[in-house]
Amino acid sequence: MTRTIGLALSGGGFRAAAFHLGCLRALHDRDLLDRIRVVSGISGGSLLAALWAYGPPDFADFDARATDLLRSGLQLDIARQAFKPSAAVRNLTAAARAGARGLFSSYSGVSVARPANRTDALAAVLTHKAFGTTTMADVTRPGLDVVLTATDLATTNAVRFGSTHSGCSRYGTITKPIHVAVAVAASAAYPALLPALERTFIFERRDGHRQQHTVLLTDGGVYDNLGLSVLEPGRSPHHTQHVYDVPFIISCDAGLGELDLKAPHFMLGRLSRSFATVHRKAQDSARSRLYEWAESGRIDGFALAYLGMKDDRLPAPPADLVPRSAVAAYPTNFAAMASSDFEAITTRGEQLMRTVLPMYLRPAAC
């Protein structure tokens, strides 16, 4: 089976993760999951990408585990871990054990002040509930690559955690294996919700030069909330380690259109810096880039499932389409999802993906 598809899962907390789960159900039914060459995740998209890529090979098992996680939530656990150390000690023995093995940082003999915060807590929870000590290279689907993107607030550069390489263009490649839980937590440190994750890594540049840098990792969506930039056709291997050149792109976008505009107000006080980068790479322009790539023939085709899509703009909506209004109010966080919300968002994801797939992807890919 030739893997010719790049899958991009956008940010947006559990709303995004649930939406992407629905999209993946449609892709499974359409038998396209085995065609995916690389999955790119941001924030909540990173969570689902990792659950799939590092999860059980059978789709039903993956679906059940992802459903469990989203229905039970991470938020309460994060709070417990961060604010009630005694409870954490009791509940997260496994996480503590993982931490003792150097899971949460790479000291390399240099001590860096790293006060544990709620994002560290998220990493711990993810270790405990989902990923254990799995590292980025341990993809359970042969032939699939994974790229989870976070943003370094210190340089506003993208830091990409990948199954083949991790690092950033400015400093080079991170020399040690990265744990999936850390990568997901960093990518998901949504500024309005979670503080940035501080980590010190040894980076190796192309010329073999090694140097230690401290990065301040926050939600990858600050940089590119759709996760498309890593899939851009014709990227030069001189500027990035992540060159996939997939002819087809499937983009799952859990954004909600104009509702998103509320988010910056939240962030304004604390993160004016990321505010600027959000504007630099507006989500809308990312979406229109897909059309440009297709029109100029740089890719052969794409499918875009967009949670916030206006229902009346779907050319052939299913009769039982979950309307946009039913999911529009759902917040971007990691709290346990109610059954009705989970059903609505996953079903809308499945429906939108099923509707757009035949429209955009040429038959050769399907």
Partner: protein, 845 residues
């Protein structure tokens, strides 16, 4: 340099001398110019000396003196004619690129190599390069074509076209024999075959024609040929004595030449005047055929390595040679002792006679494969060589396409059209005033037959294409061009092709738009499931589905929803509506479409891929330019046959993929045995006997899904169908319904059969017929479909509705013995309904 001011100089010559003067000044003594004088022919001559002392010399190089003098000849219309140079000596004679002993050949083609803007600067640079190459022995570089020897030809001596690869001498002696010449007209003969003396020669003209594949009635004769073992000269003399002398050095004596000439002349008499009695001497003085003596030498280099080929020159001898030669044969070569003395005398006489001749060299044109490269050899048109082609329609598209096929060297071409040449079509179709009233196909075939009668045979079919189609052996063709732009012809081809796609030739269907600004070529390669009608139909669907709206102009031009009203009738009242467009428009479109099709055939990526090429002609420099050429491609459909009607059911891979998606979704959520289904969109074409399934969708939300049956719901169906009809411009409509029989045979159950009478959905616009499609199969087949996508067993049936639309469909009746059944709603539900009231009776669907 002097005297230039006192000469009568043209403006150009003054310019040349000024430039030369500056070169001399700048050259610091390595170039000097003296003795500027007018020549009789209006040229100005100057003696130019070139310092050669510092040139790198090699063993094989031309031996140069430290200063070489040449005469530079400047034409009156310099710089629009290049100057030339000659030496005042003949030391360079025999070197490559030296003609007539004195002329240095600096340019292979002045048209491309001589730049008037460079003037004398460019020329002197070239001259210095020549000396440099000459000193280094690189005038003919390895791997480059060798400059062939020259012979100063005489136009009145006639023209030879060499069509067959020439013989080569063996190392031990010359090749002696005859060439079969086909006399095309008074001045031209084609060399079409070679006969060595040791071969047996044809005894009659018929045999001769047959041996050379000439048509009956062709005028043909033999001419003597000598091919030497050694290269003779780079320039052939005009005095026969010189030639005879150099041949004698290669053991080709005048005696041998006379004998061969006589032998061939005698055989010509046998062939051409079989009834004349040679011994009576009737018409003894009149030769049966002209005497062309062909002389071959191993002097022809070709690009790349490899042995030299035979270079041919031809000497047109006076008729007297025929007589002398035959006389020599009858005496010196008679084998009779008492004639030997006389024979010697004849040969002596003949030799003297030859020595006195001045040679009339014939023009020789090369057309033999070994020394020529076809100008189209790297183009996609090379695919056409030797192929059998059928061109339907001899109009604006068909005529240029047929012309392209003939020029590309197709072996056989059939042009079919039952139309006649009208005055109006001359504006854009390649016919002439004199053709008016004649059959287009016949006029076209006559003209194309003249392009290359040796390689291409063109046949006219003057009849209605649709009625004659069955009479043609279509399988014998490699490619059919449908240039009729005729729906009826297209439908005929689709119908004829449908039962026989594997052996049908490639089919290309060409069309141009109403103003000849756009063209479409639809390609149905051998083995493709769809013909022209099918490919154009899916072109329209794809164009309408394109989200970038890149094909809006195409839809408006070729696939409008409403019939066009602005029809063009060039002769109102008495001509068919046609398009407007010029010869430039239609020829450009025909050429572009043909190039695309030939590319696709020459480099097939997937032989079973249907494709359509869209091209647009350019607009003016200030207008918005139309988009460039675009290809659309489709994989083959999945085929099934409706047993009742025999119709072809063509299921797009996308439609079957959608059914499979629903089946996999069902297996994921509802377990392996629950049936599902949904509506089908497409069209029935009764004319061609094809049912197109374009799309399938999942079960409407109010459907009823159980392990025993599938009941099709209605929620949202009308709206969906209307939306799809709009989006496809009415091409894709409600066609019927599909459902699955997981793990069991793809055969209708009793319930299915009962339901067929009222199968169509109770919709307002339900058609009178509907297609029933059942996908099923025993467990291995079924699992394979779900796991790998290999096609399941398919049952298709076009059912006619007999019950009225308003009648309620029979209520679902799952078998009572199954007990309380779990049933699922359609749509995107993820949960079953809780236990339903158990239906009491009925049968499995």
């Amino acid at each position: 340099m002097k005297d230039s001011t006192t000469l009568e100089l043209t403006e150009g010559q003054q310019l040349a001398l000024d430039q030369l003067h500056r070169i001399v000044q700048a050259s610091r003594g390595s170039v000097a110019a003296t003795h500027v004088a007018s020549a009789a022919d209006g040229y100005v001559e100057a003696r130019v000396s070139v310092g050669c002392a510092n040139l790198l010399r090699t063993q094989g190089g031309l031996r140069l003196r430290s200063v070489e003098g040449i005469t530079l000849r400047i034409p009156p219309n310099f710089p629009f004619t290049a100057p030339n140079v000659q030496t005042r000596h003949t030391r360079f004679a025999g070197a490559p690129h030296v003609n007539w002993g004195r002329h240095l050949c600096l340019y292979r083609s002045t048209a491309t190599e001589w730049d008037p803007a460079d003037g004398m600067y460019g020329f002197i640079t070239r001259l210095l390069d020549w000396f440099e190459a000459a000193a280094a022995g690189q005038l003919d570089r390895p791997g480059e074509p060798l400059h062939p020897p020259n012979a100063l030809t005489d136009r009145t001596a006639g023209l030879l076209v060499i069509r067959r690869d020439a013989p080569v001498a063996r190392p031990d002696g010359p090749w002696l024999g005859a060439v079969v010449l086909h006399q095309v007209n008074d001045i031209r003969c084609d060399a079409v075959g070679w006969l060595a003396v040791e071969d047996s020669w044809p005894d009659s003209l018929e045999q001769l024609r047959e041996s050379a594949a000439l048509p009956s009635g062709a005028r043909a004769f033999l001419a003597p040929v000598v091919v030497t073992t050694k290269h003779l000269t780079f320039e052939y003399p005009l005095a026969a004595r010189e030639l005879v002398e150099s041949l004698t050095r290669d053991h080709i004596t005048p005696r041998l030449l006379l004998g061969l000439t006589g032998c061939v002349a005698g055989h010509n008499r046998t062939l051409l005047c079989p009834d004349a009695d040679a011994s009576t001497g009737d018409d003894e003085d009149t030769p049966a055929a002209p005497v062309h003596l062909l002389l071959g030498t191993p002097s022809r280099g070709i690009a790349g390595d490899g042995p030299r080929r035979t270079h041919l020159v031809a000497w047109h001898l006076p008729d007297f040679a025929d007589q002398v030669g035959r006389l020599a044969v009858r005496t010196a070569f008679s084998g009779r002792a008492h004639l030997a003395e006389l024979g010697d005398e004849v040969v002596r006489f003949g030799t003297d006679w030859l020595d006195r001749q001045s040679i009339r060299w014939m023009r020789v044109y090369e057309a033999r494969p070994e020394t020529t490269v076809r100008r189209d050899h790297t183009t996609p048109a090379a695919w056409l060589r030797g192929k059998r082609i059928l061109v339907l329609g001899a109009g604006a598209l068909g005529a240029p396409v047929a012309d392209m096929c003939a020029r590309a060297g197709a072996a056989h071409l059939t042009v079919a059209d039952h139309g006649l040449v009208h005055p109006g079509i001359l504006a854009r179709q390649p016919y002439a005033d004199a053709d008016t009233g004649y059959s287009k196909a016949r006029v076209l075939a006559d003209r194309l037959n003249r392009i290359d009668p040796h390689a291409t045979c063109v046949e006219a079919l003057v009849d209605n294409v649709t009625t004659r189609l069955s009479a043609l052996d279509l399988h014998s063709f490699d490619l059919i061009w449908d240039c009729t732009a005729n729906r009826i012809v297209r439908a005929h081809l689709e119908r004829a092709r449908r039962t026989d796609t594997a052996s049908w030739p490639h089919l290309a269907t060409l069309m141009i738009g109403h103003h000849a600004t756009r063209g479409i070529a639809a390609l149905s390669p051998r083995g493709a499931t769809g013909g022209g009608t099918d490919v154009l139909r899916r072109t329209a669907l794809t164009a309408r589905a394109d989200a970038t709206r890149a094909f809006d102009d195409l839809i408006d031009d070729f696939f409008p929803t409403e019939p066009r009203t602005d029809l063009f009738q060039p002769e109102p009242g008495c001509s068919d509506a046609t398009f407007t467009g010029s010869a430039a428009d239609v020829t450009a479109l025909a050429g572009q479409l043909a190039i695309g099709i030939l590319h696709a055939l020459a480099e097939p990526v997937d032989r079973h891929t249907m494709a359509a090429l869209i091209v647009r002609v350019p607009a003016g420099p200030t207008s918005t330019q139309p988009a460039g050429p675009r290809w659309l491609t489709w994989p083959n459909d999945i085929l099934a046959t409706d047993e009742a009607t025999g119709y072809d059911v063509r299921i797009t891979p996308a439609a079957l993929a959608e059914m499979r998606t629903e089946a996999r979704r069902g297996a994921r959520l509802r377990g392996p045995r629950v049936e599902t289904g949904g509506p089908l969109l497409g069209a029935v074409d009764d004319a061609t006997g094809v049912i197109f399934i374009d799309e399938a969708t999942g079960p409407p939300p109010d459907s009823l899904l159980t392990e025993a049956y599938f009941q099709h719901g209605l929620d949202g169906v009308s709206g969906h169908l209307a939306a799809r009809r709009r989006a496809t411009g009415n091409i894709s409509r409600f066609l019927g319904m599909w459902h699955i029989h997981p793990h069991t045979a793809a055969q209708p159950s009793a319930t299915d059969r009962a339901a067929m009478t009222s199968l169509t959905l109770p919709l307002d616009d339900a058609p009178a017929r509907a297609l029933v499609l059942i996908a099923g199969g025993p467990a291995p087949v079924w699992h394979k479909w779900l796991a790998t996508g290999d096609s399941p067993d398919l049952y298709v049936h076009l059912a006619a509705r007999t019950a009225s639309v308003t009648a309620e469909p029979p209520p679902p009746q799952p078998p009572a013995h199954l007990g309380p059944a779990q049933w699922w709603p359609g749509g995107y539900s993820t949960r079953p309904h809780s236990p339903v009231p158990v239906p009491r009776k009925g049968s499995r669907s």
